[in-house]
């Protein structure tokens, strides 16, 4: 059974979406995404001197008439897409609870996956955590949604996450450039997530970043007074005097942090969107993401 947000209406509307890529991709089969290779699509790419054996259908007779030389027209190849969805499965994704953060993040990943599967493209899920990083096989076709759900069901968020090493570990097994979608709360020092995104960039992937935050993280409803905040990943205890002013300063600092992340993504050619888990998933996927350019 599909999760609650996935109504038939929502699924129907997802089917008309298609992921947008900014780079050429290398697919196995003909598809809707441009490849660096020359192929048989309708989109003209270049001319090449005729060689014996070339298909005469691609000879440009107009050039031959003007120059008395034989050239053949070359077209872009359009291939299917290999999408890699990386989902943060560290302890912070279970705050304030798994249902309030990791499950919405998973639903978001499922929605994106469904878009990929509905277009007969390939999708592979990667869970990111330091001690137990797992990845699914490539799935293709709507009927593989059940496998995707099973994969998410098997993931239990917990532990810490160092993005760069963990992503590097996953990328060792990726052979085809494609679309990488990283879903995380990015509640880590800038240097840490920037290293991780740079690792993705080095693999020539078209990267999209979806930051997922719960309302509790944006506007913490903590009791006033002295608190010992336990970090959900490192279990480090931070003692501080929680007050309205500190709450305000925290929100400002979080906004600065998010702006810094967005700015880095912008400079690096990475698509960025922020999803707050108490928002409606369908609204975010169908309105926000197309508006920000993730879908076409």
């Amino acid at each position: 059974m599909l999760p609650a947000p996935f109504t038939s209406d929502f699924l129907n509307r997802l089917e008309v979406l298609r992921l947008r890529t900014r780079k050429n991709v290398l697919g196995n089969h003909p598809g809707a995404y441009s490849s660096p290779r020359r192929g048989t699509s309708l989109e003209f790419a270049d001319y090449r001197k005729y060689s014996p054996g070339d298909d005469l259908r691609y000879l440009d007779w107009g050039i031959f008439a003007r120059t008395d030389r034989l050239y053949v027209r070359l077209f872009h190849e359009e291939v299917d897409l290999f999408a890699y969805i990386f989902i943060d499965a560290s302890g912070s994704m279970a705050f304030p609870s798994r249902e309030e953060k990791f499950v919405p993040a998973s639903n978001l990943a499922l929605a994106l996956s469904y878009v990929v599967l509905a277009n007969h493209d390939h999708v592979r899920l990667h869970s990111l955590k330091d001690d137990n990083a797992t990845a699914s096989p490539f799935y293709r076709g709507r009927q593989r949604m059940r496998d995707l759900i099973r994969f998410f069901s098997s993931v239990t968020p917990g532990g810490s996450l160092e993005p760069a090493p963990c992503l590097g570990h996953h990328l060792k097994h990726i052979r085809r450039p494609g679309k990488a979608i990283l879903i995380s709360d990015f509640l880590a020092p800038a240097a840490a997530y920037q290293q991780g995104l740079n690792v993705l960039r080095a693999f020539n992937l078209d990267i999209s970043v979806l930051q997922v935050l719960s309302r509790q993280e944006i506007e913490p409803a903590l009791p006033r007074g002295e608190l010992g905040l336990i970090d959900s990943e490192s279990r480090e205890e931070l003692r501080l005097q929680w007050s309205a002013s500190l709450s305000r300063e925290y929100r400002e600092k979080l906004e600065r942090h998010n702006r810094e992340l967005k700015s880095f993504c912008h400079q690096s050619g990475i698509h960025y969107s922020l999803y707050v888990t108490d928002e409606d998933l369908s609204q975010f996927v169908l309105k926000t993401l197309p508006a920000t350019g993730l879908f076409r």
């Binding site: 705050f95 304030p96 609870s97 509640l187 931070l238």
Partner: protein, 608 residues
Amino acid sequence: MEFLNPAALYALALLPLLLVPYLIRRRPRRVPFSSVFLLREFAPRPTARPWGNLHLPPIFFLQLLLLALLLSALGEPSLSFRPVNIALVLDNSASMQAMEGDKSRFQHVQDEADKIIGALPPHARADLYLLAPRLTRLAEEPLTPGAAIARLSALKPLDLAEPAIDYGAELERLVRERSYDRLHLFTDHPSEGQSETVRVVSVGRPQGNLAITSFQVSRRSWAAPELEARLSIRNFSATDGKFKLVIKGFGKALASRAYTVPAGKDAEASFENLPVHAYYEAEIDAGDGLALDNRRFAVPPPQSGLKILAVSPHPEALASLRAIPGVELQVVSPQAYEKESFEPHALEIFHYSAPAALPESHALFILPPQQNPLVEIGAASSRPIVSGWREPHPLTRYINFALFRPAYARPLKPGSFGEAIIQIPDGPLAVAVERKNFRYLALGFDPFPFLGQQNLPVSIFTLNVLEWFHHARAGDTGTTGEPLATKFRAGEIVLAPDGEKIAPEKNSGLLSRTYAQGIYRSTAGGAEKFFAVNFSDEKEPDLRRPSAIQLRGKPGAATGRAFYASIWPYLLLAALALLLLEWFLNPASTRKQPATEPVKQSDDFRWA
């Protein structure tokens, strides 16, 4: 400002306890959070202190002030005015000689009194009082502060016990009668209760002490020439006392011995075959706080033998006493006794007779007539059976009372003082009385003539009686503060132990100013006579737990003048106001902060 109950101010030491709830509260509630890296810069710097950074809210200082006010109110603060008419009562008893560091307690008291007098305004007047031998005012007129300090510096403690009076009542009476603004009692006793006018300045701390409680030099029997010394030493401390006891004769060491007295116990010591000296001194090298009771003096009995003056209408019966060795007997008729005066005897026996008043010597009354100063006489009975007797008692030693059957007896009825020694069913048969250092014995039967072995029970009793009287005259030894048991002639001068020459009282011939312990000497007719006077009190040497002085002053009762204005009610009101303020600022309903929602950690990933 003064505190009427200053002991309550010790409770101020409890103020830091107010921090405890804050230290407990300081343990923060542990709340899970996704990531704390954004908050790290807001955390206080870790400190080396184990309790970390203590955040004290303003309400803490309000509570601190509230608690301080309440505790101060317990001390009953009062506004006081400078007194101009004060009395200083100094405890000059023997225990004030105890050393506290390099000064005696009395010197500490003098220092304290100096401070109080020094703080008086120039026009103030001070009266000085001493407690021993009785509560006495030193000067007829009130003294100026300067004169009071001068008189104070010349005072010394006496070798006397303090009088057994109700200090609280006595001092309040003094304040009332003399209208003192304030009365200061300087003593080594603590005080209980409070008074608006009477202030007790206590000096000294509890300390252990060893004391010679008795020292007697006597002959083993009235016929024996050898002298023996008996001593008792008491340990007034919580640890065993070790000391060396030295017996000196006329200043020359005669014998010494080491002893150990268990804590709180007595030790007995005896030295036999002492050579004859004019006086003896016993000393222990205890090195404790009070040196006074480490020495004691004794004078040996004047001579061996027992000189008896017998007054009897039947002298032949008494003549049998001459058969006893060492007894010198002089028998006179009652008429002759009344007419003539006789030289002092060790014992006077009134046989079927009695003087008009109790003689000032040891005396034995045998079947006295009805008009006698000692006992009443009952109806006669023959061969009574003894139904009871005091035991142990020197008079009843070695007697088989089953065989003790006097042929004729009349029961006695003692007065308000007197102790029945032997009893028959009709009443006492022998009554012993001790008054003014003299022993008196009244018998309701006639033990004479002395028949020796022919009537053993009665003969043994007779010898016990003579022995009992003999031991009563162990030298001329007295107690400080009491008159010497000798009448001095007019113009005779007695040299006190401190070298002061004291004249006996003209009327009585008695010497009462025996305020110093030691040997008193008198020279009468070229012969030097010695009197041993010892400090003797059961409570004074015990420096551990002096009894508390009870003050029961009533506010405003001492004088009509409002000398103190109590401000503690205002403190209580202020505390109440602070309490309300604290309640308003920090109401109970908001003190309990809402608990954080527990973080749901469901491991099930269920699709709705």
